[in-house]
Structures are given as C-alpha cells and as structure tokens.
Point group: C2
Chain length 247, copies 2
C-alpha cells in the first residue's frame, strides 16, 4: 500500500464510539471534531437524545459525518468485528489495562487499524465515564494527559485531541508551509549587499576600521529576514533613498 | 531553574489572546480548554459580549481562569510586553510569516517563554480569523494541521489543541501510568510455570515429542499478559482446578 492508501485506511477503520452520550450538542461537536481530522466512523450506543437539533447545530459543516453515525443498542454491535478496542478514562484507573497517552494510542491505531482489522476507541457518558463493564471489552486504556488538578476535558475536546493525534500519526497532515515562495538567488543577495555597502561608504557611514564587522552584521540581519524577490526590490529602493539623500 | 520551575514558567508566560470573539460560549470553552492544560493567561480584545452567562456555563470548573481574563480595548495592551507573538490562521496565508504547526509552535513557546519574555498566541474572530493588521504584529504564523477539505476547527478546539501541545512540550504531562502495580518476581513466575507443566503432564495433556514447544507457547502467552501478584494467585487456582478434575 502507498502511504496515502495506508492513511486513508486508518481514517476509515478507526471508530469513535460514544456510550450513552447525554448532551446531543456534544454529539454534534464530536462529529465536527472528527471531520476536521479526517475521521468519519461515529458510533452512538444508546444516545439519550438523537437525532437532535442541538447535535446538528454544533456539527456545523460536519452534518455528513453526523448523519452517517451508526446508532446501536448494545456496545458489541459497535465493536464486535474490531480487533483493537481502547477505552478512554479521565485518569488511570485500577483497571489492569496498559495505559496509553493520546500520542501512543494514535501511533498504535495508525499501525494496527486496517480493512481486515477495524479498531475502536470508546468514550463513556459525560459525567461518569466508562463503566467497569465497558472497560472489560477493552485491551488498552487511553488517558489523555491533562492538568492533574483539572482533568475535566469536554467530550468533544477529548475526541478532538485524539483525532488530531491520529491525523498526525497516520501521516495525513500536509507539510506546514505549502506556499511556493520565490526567493532571490545568492547572486541577487550579493548584488544587494554590494549596493548597500557602496552606498554606506559613499555616505561616510562606515568607519574604515570597523567596516568589515559592520558589513558582516548587516549581512546577518538581512540574511535572517530571508527576503522574497519582491522584498529585495523594496530593500534596493530603501538603499537608493540613502544614496540620494546625501547628494 | 529546575524542570518543574521551567514548565511553570511556560504556563505562566504564554498568553492566549482572543480578538473580538463573537460567541461568549466560546470564551468559556476556551477558559476550560486552557485550564485542562495548565494555561491561565487569557486576554480578550474587544469581546462582543463579556462577561456573560453563556461564557460561565461553558467554563464549567474553569471559572477562575475565566474571571481572571484581561479585557482590553487594543491588541497592543495585550501583547506590548511580549517578545514572541504568533498569529493563528486556518490555512497558511500569503503573509510573509514562517508557518508553524501546533507542535513546533508549542516547542518554540516552551523554549522561549519566560518571566522576562512573555509570549502570546492570537486567535481571530470565529468567522473571519485574524485581520492582516493583526497579523502584522506577529513574527510567526500558527496553522494547526487539519483535513484540507474541512479546516473548520471550533475556536475552543483550536485553543485546546495548542494548549495540549504546550502542556506536552513544557514537560508537565505526568507519566502515562502512575499507578504502582505490584508484579510477581521471576521466581514466582517460574514456580507458576512449573506448577502448570506438572499439572499438564499429570493429566497427559503434553505429548512428549511436543512438550517443550507447548510449554514454551504457554510461557510466552502468560508472560505477555504480565500478571499482577493477585492475578498470579488466580492462575494458580485455575491450574489447581485442572489437577482436581482428573482425580
């Protein structure tokens, strides 16, 4: 599989399972959070209220993800065919499951989830979290790192953070700077530095003893700014102003 | 500075600046998102409605962060003393700022923010994002990686993701498994394996030719499960059942 197909596979085969979500607004916010990170498989186990206007309102542009949600009565209907099931808990519990951070959980999902091996991450009801019985269906426990004195992550925020880590771990994130910037070449830069130096000499700005040091400082300053082609023209114009001012 | 003081310093010296936030609910959700990740410095530049009941409702347990928010009229009142200012944009813009991902932005903040050098990350109004004028106050641009076809991150979600990365980058996250688990020692495990093997032999379960292979399989299986002390007792009891059954 190409890397692109692999990452599509991960997105397609990781399910977010909400168990008895109480506030329909949260379901909508979860759908939106998932879609921002290319996840689409949402399962709702016995939602208190669904479908709902509040869910649609909070989903904003992710109505497709929301409307495609599978509503099921029993947890096993959501995860029966999954080969990796992970339960989310606000704090590490006494449960005998190995604890994963959001990042290590996402890396595990990216490695293991595929068409023959779907995976699921469970989120419990807003106030109480997953029951011990639901945790028994899991082989790992996800605990998102938070402030030890305030671990109160909103349900949609928890899904958002995990989805983001899955998006990064599956290699789908575009390069951080996709714009094509046109930089001048090194000769253009040298031409500018010479122009600047000549002008400064003509205005008696450069003390002969410190000339080299000062020119070197200027080079470092303008080099760090890494001017674009248009910006270099602007700098030439400024230098020309210095020339004229003295005449 | 100790690592603990360093990370406290980061939390104290990174400001989240919301410019003209339109929905007070979002302000509350931002306060909550910040507090879950140990951030506390919230600045509101010309909020459309604040204070507000909706903001308090969404802040849940982060009323302290919300009530400590600084409300200012001009952006410069929020960032005048900052030595690093980063503007958040949904997509990389034509702006001549280097683009940072959430992770690299957080690493930069963790390296640079301290008592003598506060830093700020700006978030624009919900619909329009930061104006070009606000971007002019920035030296870097933060673009959180998202689905290229649906970059619609909620304001609080964007703050949540960045705050999470700052929390991780500043080394404040606790180890993923802080529970103290008591494992049996290697002699205890050996004692169990011998018990199991002896029992299987007594029940004629082990074919002599394959005895070694089968025992080795069992060792690998139970080794992988890594039983706790109490669980090892349970396994001994199961083996005892196998013994008795044959008498």
């Amino acid at each position: 599989l190409s890397p692109h197909e692999t990452s599509k596979n991960v997105s397609k085969n990781v399910r977010i399972v909400l168990i008895e979500p109480r506030h329909p607004g949260n379901i909508g916010a979860v759908a939106r959070a998932m879609k921002t990170m290319c996840l689409a498989k949402l399962y709702l186990v016995r939602p208190v209220e669904f479908p709902s206007f509040d869910a649609e309102r909070r989903a904003v542009g992710a109505l497709d993800t929301l409307n495609a949600a599978s509503v099921v009565e029993r947890l096993e209907d959501a995860i029966g065919d999954c080969r990796l099931v992970i339960g989310t808990t606000a704090r590490a519990r006494a449960h005998p499951h190995p604890v994963l951070s959001a990042r290590s959980c996402a890396e595990k999902l990216a490695r293991e989830a595929n068409d023959r091996a779907p995976a699921a991450v469970l989120f419990g009801p807003e106030r109480t979290g997953l029951s011990n019985r639901d945790m028994d269906a899991c082989t790992f426990q996800l605990t998102i790192p938070t402030n030890p004195e305030f671990a109160s992550l909103n349900l949609a925020s928890a899904v958002q953070l995990l989805s983001y880590e899955i998006f990064l771990a599956s290699g789908q994130a575009p390069a951080p700077d996709p714009r094509s910037v046109e930089y001048p070449n090194q000769s253009d830069m040298e031409f500018f530095y010479k122009h600047l130096e000549k002008t400064l000499v003509s205005r008696n700005f450069l003390d002969e003893a410190r000339r080299e040091v000062t020119v070197s400082k200027m080079r470092r300053l303008f080099g760090r700014a890494r001017p674009r082609i248009g910006e270099l023209k602007l700098l030439h114009s400024l230098v020309k102003l210095m020339e004229r001012d003295g005449r």
